[in-house]
């Protein structure tokens, strides 16, 4: 029930994001969702793409440091309080969210949120037990 995300180390200097997106574009890889975390010196670009393995290979070939991480994609009702319901449920089960970001596409009438938990399995169990819909990777990559 997990989704593979790739993360890329980038120095805080001009043209790095353009370079990564150019490489992926030329390889025909589609970015499905992204989040950029940054500090004054460096940043971490996290991507959900339609071809994880290929993206990892081409970026490594170009000299980037790339990691793969398991994240969880959850459907969230696209209405006021939708996200809050999920976060309150996670909080009750004392599950810590490392970071999260929104998916570009909607799934039916719902938004999709990507979560990174420190205890992924426990988080999945909690979400499932509380009736939330978790999206499988294959579904997400091709959405």
């Amino acid at each position: 029930m997990q989704v593979e995300q790739i993360s890329i180390f980038i120095e805080n200097k001009s043209g790095r994001l353009a370079e990564i997106t150019r490489i992926l574009g030329e390889t025909g890889i589609n970015i499905r969702a992204l989040s950029l975390a940054d500090t004054s010196d460096f940043g971490i670009l996290r991507l959900i793409v339609n071809d994880v393995e290929r993206a990892k290979v081409v970026l490594k070939e170009k000299g980037f440091t790339v990691n793969k991480t398991e994240v969880v994609a959850v459907e969230v009702p696209d209405k006021p309080g939708g996200l809050s319901t999920i976060l309150q449920s996670l909080d009750r089960d004392r599950i810590n969210v490392e970071y999260m970001y929104a998916f570009v596409e909607r799934c039916g009438g719902n938004a999709v949120i990507i979560f990174r938990f420190d205890e992924t399995d426990k988080a999945i169990a909690s979400l499932a037990a509380n009736g939330f819909t978790i999206l499988a990777g294959e579904r997400l990559y091709s959405m």
Partner: protein, 435 residues
């Protein structure tokens, strides 16, 4: 008219000085071959017996001693006196975490004290001076070396040591310090901090500054003299040989540092071939200690690059003068007076990462203080999708460097392949200091 601390020996005619050197060299060779297995072996390997050394030129037949030899003999292996006679132990940072250890007998301390007193007088200090000694006290030889010499001179020494600059400025003014001893960069920092406090250090009673333990330049001397209103004198020393006071400029000439040749025999060699170079030519300074008892060293490779001038000096001292140190024949860096080898930082990185990382040390001087930036290429092993993990990695490296080497650094994580490689080997150091 120059003044001296020990006029007879400081102005000894060259012929008498060289005769004394030979006599003392023979004595020290007899001593080390009797008491130090390392030297017994190295002399045997070189096929030389102490009695074969009949002139100073024969010195070249003796093997060198290196810092590696000192490391291999850690801690006391090169001591030539029993521990009951060793009254002081100092150490300087080593390349692999283990320091280089030196021991002094009562007589060694007496000689060091005299040579430091001579150095103070050569620099223009005298009895009645108030000496503000801002060299660090401790395992580092700077603080205690200068301290004993100042007392021997009959000056009043303020053992302020390093740090707490605001307090230093207050004490310097209130106590009426006339002589300042510290690193050259710290003197400029002091002047700047004083200015920030509204104090013009030029109007203080400071007359002479004796600066060493890190490389500096004539341009820096001009800056220090202008900003502090004193005569800035260069001093040289290293713990392996003794500590501060191995060589000093005289205030009369400020042209090269007189090396006390009645206790040390200096040679300048080509660091590649090991062969001597002519007077005035640049090469690596090699020193033989001819009166030391605790840990005499034969032909010690200092790795410091200089030249020697044995022509007469206006001050009347007959001891040769080495030129201001102009570099190293190895990759050692001196950062805020602390010796740093790139290999030390590499071993810290390897320990943290478990792999050999690509890194670059960028040394600079900002606001008169040395800065060290450690750039580390982020590889997959250390990379994480979480910011906090990478940030704590950087902080951990900074802390390890501070703990192990005593140097404050800033770690910057950079992308792979951004650090220049030359001929397959990475360039490890970029020194931007304009010395």
């Amino acid at each position: 008219m120059a003044s001296y601390f020990n006029e007879e020996f400081e102005t000894l005619p060259r012929a008498a000085l060289e005769a004394l050197q030979l006599k003392r060299l023979q004595a020290v060779l007899a001593r080390v071959s009797a008491n130090v297995p390392f030297y017994r072996n190295s002399l045997a390997q070189a096929g030389v017996k102490p009695q074969d050394i009949r002139s100073l030129a024969d010195l070249q037949r003796l093997p060198f001693t290196t810092k590696q030899d000192m490391r291999d003999s850690y801690p006391y292996g090169l001591f030539a006196a029993p521990m009951e006679e060793i009254v002081r132990i100092h150490a300087s940072s080593g390349t692999t975490g283990k320091p280089t250890v030196v021991g002094y007998t009562q007589q060694d301390i007496a000689v060091w004290t005299e040579l430091m007193a001579r150095s103070f007088v050569a620099a223009g200090a005298h009895k009645g001076d108030i000496i503000h000694n801002a060299y660090g006290y401790g395992l580092f030889t700077g603080g205690l070396g200068a301290h004993y010499g100042a007392e021997k001179l009959g000056a009043s020494v303020i053992p302020i040591s390093g740090g707490n600059t605001k307090r230093q400025i207050m004490i310097m003014q209130d106590f009426g310090s006339t002589v300042l001893t510290c690193t050259p960069s710290y003197s400029l920092y002091l002047a700047e901090e004083a200015a920030a406090e509204g104090v013009d250090i030029k109007t203080s009673k400071l007359r002479v500054g004796i600066f060493g333990a890190e490389p500096w330049s004539e341009a820096m001397r001009a800056e220090i003299e202008a900003n502090l209103g004193l005569d800035a004198i260069d001093i040289y020393g290293l713990s392996e040989i003794m500590g501060p006071g191995v060589a000093i400029e005289c205030i009369e000439a400020k042209q090269g540092l007189h090396i006390w040749e009645d206790h040390f025999i200096p040679e300048i060699i080509n660091p590649e071939t090991g062969q001597p170079v002519a007077d005035g030519e640049k090469g690596e300074l090699v020193i033989t200690t001819i009166t030391k008892q605790g840990i005499p060293l034969i032909r010690y490779r200092t790795r410091d690059i200089t030249s020697i001038d044995r022509t007469p000096c206006v001050c009347g001292r007959t001891h040769g003068r080495i030129a201001r140190l102009s570099g190293r024949s190895d990759d050692m860096l001196i950062i805020r007076g602390v010796n740093v080898f790139p290999s030390q930082i590499e071993s810290i990185l390897v320990r943290i990462e478990g792999v050999e990382p690509h890194y670059l040390l960028i040394v600079d001087r900002r606001d008169n203080l040395d800065t060290l930036e450690v750039q580390v290429e982020v590889n997959e092993g250390m990379f994480s999708d979480e910011i906090k993990v990478l940030q704590s990695l950087g902080r951990r490296i900074e802390k390890e460097i501070k703990d192990m080497l005593g140097v404050t650094s800033t770690v910057k994580l950079v992308e792979p392949k951004t650090i220049q490689r030359s001929e397959g080997k990475a360039r490890r150091v970029q020194d931007n200091r304009n010395l």
